[in-house]
């Protein structure tokens, strides 16, 4: 499939391939996403803003040019910006495919780097000559000033144009914690957010430090995804509980949301809000506990992103979808088209959702037992179960669903 080569987040002709829970495929217009979710569903988005995480400069000991891409940190705390996990590259830039970039100069603990106004030191090597733990000198304000002034968005060769920060921030972008865009969020705009509300579809968010997608080095790529900190707000936990109680679906807008929610659910306890670090891989062996469907970008099979989709559907279904994407010219990568993939109806019912403390719900509801895939939510707007009021908007702004 061809990558989308222009940094347009919402091309007017953006496509959405819908893979239903029974494996049937439908082609749709992505701007009408609200028409393809049901009243009572919950869409969960990642509101992370994208850090311009590519920093170029000099490796002092060798005098060689180096590019550092920030790729991880321990928490989302605003002042936790002195130590990062980073991937190092040699000379060149995004115009060269990552797998063809020369390696960085040999690195070792104690090495100093000058990256524009920033001064960085290698704390230790992380079991690969290009993977380092890095420390920045200066106060948090000074580090952010340096990143803001000198950093560029991480980007790849399939987009020739140099990206600006406005190209890589989703419309919901809040705190700057993502190393690359949580690009499923490119599907959103405020018109769509308004349409979701009008359609009785709830929106909730979490903040997750979306990591980098590729390093060009297979051994390094195999170590990914790195540990990714996230924050799951209490309001989102309550929204999930309400959704499950009324039989709606929890729809993750992107792989980062999936990773964060499934990590938060993995302890076996009722879903807890707060800070966490997603350390798990999601693949064909993963039993999803929370997420019922995912909206995600189009990627080639064999990529790590694809492995996550195997938790939702069999290889046969994914191959059927892949063939349809190819045949219909869907564009891949972050500025490309999207897929709405429902968790395939299991042969055996999945375990009962964990009982939710009823006092945490905003209105009366009973915990549901058994699989809630067998029951469709009520048609049209559910009565009172939703605490969403219809907005006062000019009618023409609401896209009509056909």
């Amino acid at each position: 499939m061809k990558p989308a080569a222009r940094p347009v987040q919402r091309p007017h002709d953006a496509k959405l391939l819908i893979v239903e829970a029974d494996g049937r495929l439908r082609h749709a217009v992505r701007a009408q996403l609200a028409c393809h979710l049901r009243a009572g569903d919950l869409l969960v988005a990642n509101d992370a803003a994208t850090i311009p995480a590519s920093l170029s400069g000099l490796h002092k000991r060798s005098g060689a040019v180096i590019e550092i891409r920030l790729a991880g940190r321990g928490s989302l705390a605003a002042d936790d910006v002195r130590e990062f996990t980073a991937v190092a590259f040699g000379s060149g830039d995004h115009h060269t495919p990552t797998e063809e970039r020369p390696p960085p100069p040999p690195l070792q603990a104690g090495d100093a780097m000058v990256l524009g106004p920033l001064r960085a030191t290698v704390l230790r090597m992380l079991e690969h000559p290009r993977l380092v733990a890095l420390r920045f000198a200066g106060t948090p304000d000074a580090v952010w000033a340096g990143i803001a002034r000198h950093g560029k968005p991480i980007q790849y060769a399939y987009v020739a144009q140099s990206l600006a920060m406005w190209d890589v921030w989703t419309p919901l972008a809040a705190r700057p914690v993502a190393f690359e865009s949580p690009s499923a969020g490119f599907a959103l705009d405020w018109k769509l957010l308004t349409a979701l509300r009008a359609g009785g579809i709830e929106l909730a968010t979490l903040t997750h430090a979306a990591g980098i997608s590729s390093t060009g080095d297979p051994a390094l790529d195999a170590k990914m995804p790195f540990d990714e900190p996230y924050h799951l707000p209490r309001q989102t936990v309550l929204a999930i509980a309400r959704t499950q109680a009324r039989g709606g679906r929890v729809v993750a807008l992107g792989t980062t949301v999936t990773r964060a929610l499934e990590h938060a659910a993995s302890s076996g306890e009722p879903l807890r809000s707060g800070a966490g670090v997603a350390t798990q891989r999601i693949d064909a062996h993963t039993a999803l506990r929370v997420v019922d469907a995912i909206v995600t970008g189009v990627h080639e099979s064999g990529e790590s992103h694809y492995e996550l989709l195997r938790a939702f559907a069999s290889d046969a279904v994914l191959e059927h979808a892949r063939a349809a994407l190819e045949q219909h010219g869907y564009r891949s990568h972050e500025f490309g088209d999207s897929v709405l993939l429902a968790r395939q109806r299991p042969a055996t019912p999945r375990p009962a959702p964990r009982a939710v403390d009823a006092s945490q719900l905003l209105e009366q509801s009973r915990p549901r037992l058994g699989s809630h895939h067998d029951k469709r939510p009520p048609e049209g707007r559910p009565e009172k179960a939703l605490a969403i009021s219809a907005p006062h908007v000019t009618p023409y702004l609401i896209a009509t669903c056909n």
């Binding site: 509101d47 803003a49 850090i51 311009p52 705390a77 605003a78 910006v81 948090p140 304000d141 952010w144 000033a145 990143i147 803001a148 002034r149 600006a164 920060m165 406005w166 921030w169 989703t170 419309p171 919901l172 972008a173 809040a174 705190r175 700057p176 405020w190 957010l193 308004t194 509300r197 909730a204 968010t205 707000p233 309001q235 009021s389 907005p391 006062h392 908007v393």
Partner: protein, 241 residues
């Protein structure tokens, strides 16, 4: 000068506020008043040495060099705001340009001076609001706040000869505020234009050099009125704070 009242029960205590044009006039007074009330404050201005002075005067505030009239400075400014404050509850678009200085009749105003007034007073606030809108919407979802205050002027409403570029740009800002408030209300974010009245500020002195300062409001009083408004809005929104 750095007198914060630790026993303050102000409802803006802990509120995350960003102010543009924060090193002089009303903006500086807002930085000081909010800081004194225990708010977490970030401010934007163009001159680094002024920024350092204000940071020294109000220790703990975050000064961010930047020019809101420049498109490519907006996202770096927005990122530094949300990084410094760990999110954002209130944006105050205060940085203003008169356009032509000295003030000029419209027919004598260079187009470029009109464009400067529009760039700083309308498009800058528009772009910065868009860039931090995600953070403000997050604040609203969390039940904290989610408010944009756009500083306007009587010149936006009354046709004063000589105030064309400034007046027109502030009128546009005012009307944009009303439409945006309408559009964002379902999402919990509010947009409010506030006219603080004529104040004894460097901007006013540039516009009316022979004005009698004694006849003008003090910026501290203008700031106090805005903070009182913020306190009342915050007390409604989050009474438990």
């Amino acid at each position: 000068m750095n007198t914060r009242d630790p026993s303050s029960t102000s409802s803006v205590h802990g509120l995350r506020v960003a102010i543009t044009g924060g090193t002089s006039g009303l903006g500086l007074a807002l930085v000081g008043t909010l800081h004194h009330r225990g708010a977490a404050v970030a401010f934007v201005a163009r001159q680094v040495h002024h920024i350092r002075d204000v940071e020294r005067q109000y220790g703990g505030t975050h000064g961010i060099p930047g020019d809101v009239s420049q498109k490519d400075e907006i996202h770096p400014i927005a990122m530094r705001i949300t990084a410094a404050l760990d999110g954002l509850d209130v944006l105050i678009n205060n940085a203003s340009s008169l356009g032509p200085v000295p003030l000029a009749l419209l027919a004598d105003t260079d187009c470029e001076d009109l464009e400067t007034a529009l760039a700083t007073n309308l498009v800058g606030p528009f772009r910065l609001t868009k860039a931090v809108l995600g953070a403000l919407a997050a604040s609203a979802r969390e039940g904290r706040q989610g408010l944009v205050i756009n500083i306007t002027s009587d010149a936006a409403a009354t046709p004063y000869a000589g105030w064309g570029a400034y007046g027109a740009s502030k009128a546009a800002l005012s009307h944009m505020s009303r439409i945006w408030d309408e559009e964002l209300r379902p999402h919990g974010v509010r947009v409010q234009a506030i006219d603080p009245g004529d104040m004894d500020t460097p901007l006013h002195a540039l516009a009316v050099p022979d004005a009698d300062p004694a006849s003008l409001k003090r910026p501290a009083d203008g700031a106090q009125e805005i903070v009182t408004f913020l306190e009342s809005v915050q007390a409604e929104k989050a009474p438990a704070l």
